[in-house]
């Protein structure tokens, strides 16, 4: 079997880049369209249905981009570290490729969480930035993404780059609970969670609806973007493999 000849452990059919490539290609349009539709619905609810906040006025409407971006920034990191860990344990190339593909999108959402948070902080707290626990740990998350990408880019041999990046990703995962619980553990300017799994949300139902629609849109976008990127990575790394060299990449 070809996949075994090039060293993959065939745990599941789609653990091999060759099988995953067309599957990812077929999934991308679905996730991309879902992202677009959910984003349109979320923006509509956020700007035209949700009422003005009686404390923050219209400034609170940043929430519809800030909270989804912040959630994705943490969640993508956990998924990235998961694939990095799977790649280290089982030595599967596709897992490392997934981790690599997730990093830029995670960095994008981390930057957006910081940027929108800064623009929200100025009118509500009176400052663009404070070195408090929540903000600082989110900034560290951005540096972890950058570090992961820079480390992988700095090592020429892909498999060594994979392993080095994976170790960094796994060590950095300790930062995620720090970000999440920072508002409880330390006295910070940042407010606590408005939405939790255990209690009722402390916000108007339409505001929550807009926020959740935007969060779902961010999910769908992230999946579409990382699947798209992983296909490029597969093409780049498996260039010499028969199925690519012989043009059997479609559909």
């Amino acid at each position: 079997m070809q996949t075994q000849a090039i060293g993959t452990i065939n745990w599941f059919k789609f653990a091999s880049p060759q099988s995953f490539y067309p599957l990812a290609g077929a999934m991308i349009p679905w996730f991309a369209w879902s992202a677009g539709l959910l984003c349109a619905a979320g923006l509509y609810v956020g700007f035209f249905v949700a009422p003005t906040d009686h404390q923050q006025g219209e400034a609170y409407r940043i929430i519809f981009i800030h909270v989804p971006a912040a959630w994705m920034s943490m969640f993508i990191y956990v998924v990235m570290a998961f694939w990095a860990g799977v790649g280290l344990v089982f030595n599967t190339r596709l897992s490392h490729m997934m981790a690599t593909a997730l990093a830029p999108t995670g960095a994008l959402f981390t930057f957006l969480a910081l940027w929108t948070g800064s623009l929200w902080g100025k009118p509500t707290w009176g400052t663009w930035w404070v070195w408090d626990a929540r903000l600082t740990s989110e900034l560290i998350l951005l540096f972890l993404y950058f570090g992961f990408m820079a480390l992988q880019a700095a090592i020429d041999e892909p498999r060594r780059a994979d392993r080095a990046g994976a170790v960094l990703a796994l060590v950095g995962v300790v930062n995620i609970p720090i970000i999440y619980f920072s508002v409880q553990w330390w006295n910070t300017l940042h407010q606590g969670a408005s939405v939790s799994l255990t209690g009722a949300p402390t916000m108007a139902a339409t505001m929550l609806t807009g926020m959740l629609l935007m969060a779902l849109a961010a999910w769908m976008y992230s999946i579409a973007a990382s699947l798209h990127r992983v296909r490029s990575i597969i093409l780049e790394r498996e260039r010499g493999a028969d199925w690519i060299a012989q043009g059997r990449v479609s559909p």
Binding site: F48, I65, P104, L108, W115, P123, S232, I233
Partner: protein
């Protein structure tokens, strides 16, 4: 709906800079990522010597 005119909507109750500054940068960066994704794929196909028309 909270708005009675387009100007009122754009003014965002005096928070236009902060609200639109957030959404504009988000939209801009996502557009940049999409363009980079498309370019990376184009380069990868070229390097693998696959004509763009052949690959979906």
């Amino acid at each position: 709906m909270s708005w009675s005119s387009l100007n009122e909507f754009l003014a965002m109750g005096g928070y236009a800079l902060y609200v639109w500054g957030s959404y504009a940068v988000a939209a801009g960066l996502i557009a940049v990522e999409v363009i980079m994704l498309i370019q990376r794929r184009r380069h990868a196909l070229k390097a693998a010597k696959i004509p763009a028309g052949d690959a979906p």
